[in-house]
């Protein structure tokens, strides 16, 4: 009876399928009388690029939270598309984390995301209340209402990293200028056969991230698609670093590296933030990126040659006038909001509040219980040494910035919002975590050290954090133009061609809306200064 057998098998498969699909779905039972306001709730949250370990880490927080987590995610390059589709089609998610450049204002106006004023309670949500009451947040209200919660990095945790062993072998102590940098790279190539700089072209977040230090040193900028690179000179004139001479110089320099084989020429096909295929086996002398990653690369370098090591290097040209700190703490970069279709807004806020509190942040940074720290949990003083003097000394007078703390484990500390009256005060007194074993072992690649050395890359001005409506019209076109022309310049065969390519680039940039863009920000600056 083969037909019947087939049908039965088919039905069994379908049933099994449905079980696997629906078994893990959200359960919403009536709240039992246990005093836990979130009994039976499952919070569906969308967070970007959550890998296995992060997922385990987050699930380990469920005990403290009192509700379960259902974590949705996507790859970096699909992030914005996914979020856009989710909001546009009213998917039932409680908390979504997305880039600030997405059309959240339109969503707010169309009633697709929840306004938060009726949910935020200063007693229950000290941190959320603090940051959304900060001065600069005022510019982000829509109709006088709050619609999102900001996330970001703390200042800059990215910097220039070089091969310490090569520096020692060449007898170089510190590189002070870009010309010196070029010479050292050439020597490294001749004697050790390594690329001077390992480059990648990440399609999405930071194009040319690995060359940030070069842009900064020449006073150029504008290569991070979601960041604003405005410069305000002494007269109050706003200009965009994307078309500045500093950028042209930086690109010319990179082109020189390219023509002299000091850069991996296949960088356009490498879509990750850092070209690990070159960094892991030690085929490059330097790169720009999170030095904390260098900890990982060092262990792989040791497999090739135990003498090889990456070390962090101070910012080149940081004292000079034209140095332009680019990363701006990624401006706001990402925001979290609650879609209108959510059924658990209180749980969403509780979740956000917890992961930005002292305990939550330390749990997230520490990682997976039993794997990255002892399974018994934290001792009374935790796994980390707190660096309590705040970072005033490191960052100078950055006071009103919106560089707030976020969800990811790349943010190594927290803001003590419950200890200070205003957000600005609390921000000045950020607390940084430093692994006790790093402190004990004297590992130079520890967080405190890194933030110290990378601080020059973290800049801010009054308009760099504000998204004006004009941006959503022109930003993607401007970025496309940059992507096209900057790489043309870098890969130009003859440096004499660069001038012409640059001029075409500037003309096109202006044509697709660059002038309009700058004008809008100029007007805005004029009103606030």
């Amino acid at each position: 009876m083969r037909k019947e057998r087939f049908l039965v098998l088919f039905i069994v498969l379908l049933v099994a399928l449905s079980f696997s699909v629906f078994a893990g779905g959200a359960e919403e039972e009536a709240a039992a009388d246990t005093g836990n306001p979130f009994e039976g709730v499952t919070l569906k949250t969308f967070l970007i690029a959550v890998d296995e370990d992060m997922e385990t880490t987050l699930h380990s927080l469920e005990g403290e939270l009192g509700f379960k987590l259902d974590i949705l995610t996507s790859s970096w390059d699909q992030w914005s598309q996914k979020v856009n589709m989710m909001v546009a089609t009213g998917v039932d998610v409680d908390l979504i984390n997305c880039e600030e450049s997405l059309p959240w204002r339109e969503w707010a106006q169309d009633g697709l995301i929840k306004e938060l004023d009726s949910y935020i309670d200063p007693a229950k949500h000290p941190y959320i209340n603090s940051i959304t009451s900060a001065g600069l947040y005022g510019g982000f209200k829509e109709n006088g209402n709050r619609y999102f919660l900001p996330n970001a990095h703390q200042g800059s945790d990215q910097g220039m990293v070089v091969r310490e062993d090569i520096m020692n072998a060449l007898g170089v102590d510190e590189i002070k200028t870009m010309d010196e940098y070029y010479d050292v790279m050439k020597m490294a190539k001749d004697e050790f056969g390594v690329y001077g700089l390992a480059l990648s072209l990440e399609d999405g977040l930071m194009k040319l991230q690995s060359a940030t230090h070069i842009f900064a040193a020449f006073g150029g900028g504008g290569f991070i698609p979601q960041a604003r690179s405005f410069y305000i000179d002494a007269n109050g004139t706003v200009s965009d670093k994307s078309i500045s001479s500093g950028t042209k110089d930086a690109l010319t320099f990179i082109n020189k590296l390219y023509r002299n084989n000091l850069i991996n020429k296949d960088y356009t096909t490498i879509r990750s933030g850092l070209p690990t295929t070159y960094l892991e086996p030690g085929q490059a002398f330097s790169f720009f990126g999170p030095p904390i990653s260098a900890n990982g690369y060092n262990s792989k370098l040791a497999m090739v040659n135990p003498e090889w090591k990456y070390a962090i290097h101070p910012a080149i040209g940081a004292e000079k006038e034209d140095f332009y700190p680019i990363t701006n703490g990624f401006n706001m970069w990402t925001i979290s909001f609650i879609p209108e279709t959510s059924k658990n807004p209180e749980a969403a806020l509780a979740f956000f509040e917890y992961i930005t509190s002292r305990e939550g942040r330390e749990r997230i940074v520490a990682g997976v219980p039993g794997v990255t720290y002892p399974a018994e949990g934290f001792s009374e003083d935790g796994v980390y040494e707190q660096f309590p003097e705040g970072l005033k000394s490191v960052y100078g007078n950055e006071t009103a910035s919106l560089r707030w703390y976020g969800i990811g484990q790349t943010v190594y500390g927290y803001i003590p919002a419950d200890e200070y009256a205003t957000y600005e005060e609390a921000y000045k007194n950020k607390v940084i975590f430093m692994k006790k074993e790093d402190v004990a072992a004297g590992n130079p690649l520890n967080v405190r050290n890194i933030i110290d050395v990378c601080a020059p890359y973290s800049g801010y001005n009054d308009i760099s954090e504000v998204p004006l409506p004009v941006e959503s019209e022109v930003r993607s076109n401007l970025n496309n133009i940059k992507g096209e022309y900057w790489n043309k310049i870098i890969m130009a065969n003859d440096p004499a061609d660069i001038g012409a390519i640059w001029d075409t680039y500037v003309a096109e940039w202006k044509e697709v809306g660059g002038d309009k863009y700058v004008a809008a920000y100029q007007d805005f600056y004029n009103t606030i200064k």
Binding site: Q81, P103, N264, T268, T269, S476, E484
Partner: protein
């Protein structure tokens, strides 16, 4: 029995088509298809005013044209060549090996392609270096990108696509060959006057199918191989849609782009069908 099949077609093929109405709307999901604002051709106008859309459109045509020109004849020629191989063993080895790349998804294939064409570490450039030529950065070069795309797809599918033609050749009546040889035909004449005309019907049907499909294809390959430097030559409609989904709150615009894509596919199918019918061969419609 036919009922279930029809049901599937209705649910999964025809109803989604109904969603095309969204191309004419300023779509808001909570309002649904019927209450969203109808804005006629505004979405389309918006699309055509976008330089990158026009570029993607042009690239779709050009790349598809190249494929028709080069990728369509290649398996035919390959089948003819295979037919001429004397040694059965060698022939089956070639066949088996060339079938393999077809089973690789483009994700795997693009990993391999990137490795082989890499400027400093890839074998192709190594060869060029040995021959004293300068390096070529195939995947970042506006000049070479389309060539790479067409060539790699050709190599990937040549074995598989030739199966039909091999089968057709094998089905040719041998007496035709015999009588032609008796009449004094040499190898080349046999090929030209017996083999090719006999498989002409198969070629024409495959041509129609190929042209009808070629416009919708290529997404996988391009999506995995392209990068911002070569957008001007390599971005096609399908990849444009996926890429621009990030910033467009009005889904109607994307839907409009998809609509245009499908219309072009259809137009070319009908056109090639007509063309083939004109030339006297069998056609589908």
């Amino acid at each position: 029995m036919i009922g279930i099949v029809i049901l599937w077609y209705v649910v999964f093929a025809y109803i989604p088509m109904f969603g095309l109405i969204v191309s004419f709307q300023k779509f808001n999901f909570s309002k649904g298809y019927f209450k969203s604002e109808f804005i006629g051709l505004t979405n389309f106008k918006l699309l055509f005013s976008d330089k990158y859309f026009r570029q993607a459109l042009k690239n779709t045509f050009v790349i598809s044209g190249l494929r028709i020109l080069f990728q369509f004849p290649a398996p035919i020629i390959f089948a003819l060549i295979l037919n001429e191989i004397r040694s059965k063993k060698y022939r089956s080895v070639v066949q088996t090996v060339t079938y393999i790349p077809h089973f690789f998804s483009w994700i795997i294939m693009s990993g391999l392609v990137m490795m082989i064409l890499s400027p400093d570490r890839g074998l192709v450039n190594l060869l060029l270096e040995k021959m004293g030529q300068p390096q070529i950065h195939f995947l970042s070069s506006v000049k070479w990108f389309r060539t790479v795309i067409v060539t790699t797809d050709l190599l990937k599918e040549i074995g598989w696509n030739s199966i039909i033609f091999i089968a057709a050749i094998a089905g040719i009546n041998h007496t035709l060959y015999e009588s032609a040889t008796i009449d004094g035909a040499n190898r080349r004449q046999l090929l030209w006057h017996v083999t090719i005309p006999s498989i002409a019907p198969v070629i024409s049907i495959m041509f129609i199918l190929y042209v009808g499909n070629v416009f919708g294809q290529g997404f996988d390959q391009l999506f995995n191989l392209y990068n911002p430097v070569v957008f001007e030559k390599g971005d096609i409609l399908a990849t444009y849609i996926i890429r621009t989904l990030r910033e467009q709150p009005n889904l109607g615009v994307q839907a409009a782009a998809g609509f245009i894509n499908s219309l072009i596919c259809l137009a070319f199918l009908l056109f090639s069908n007509w063309l083939v019918r004109r030339s006297g061969q069998e056609s589908i419609y």
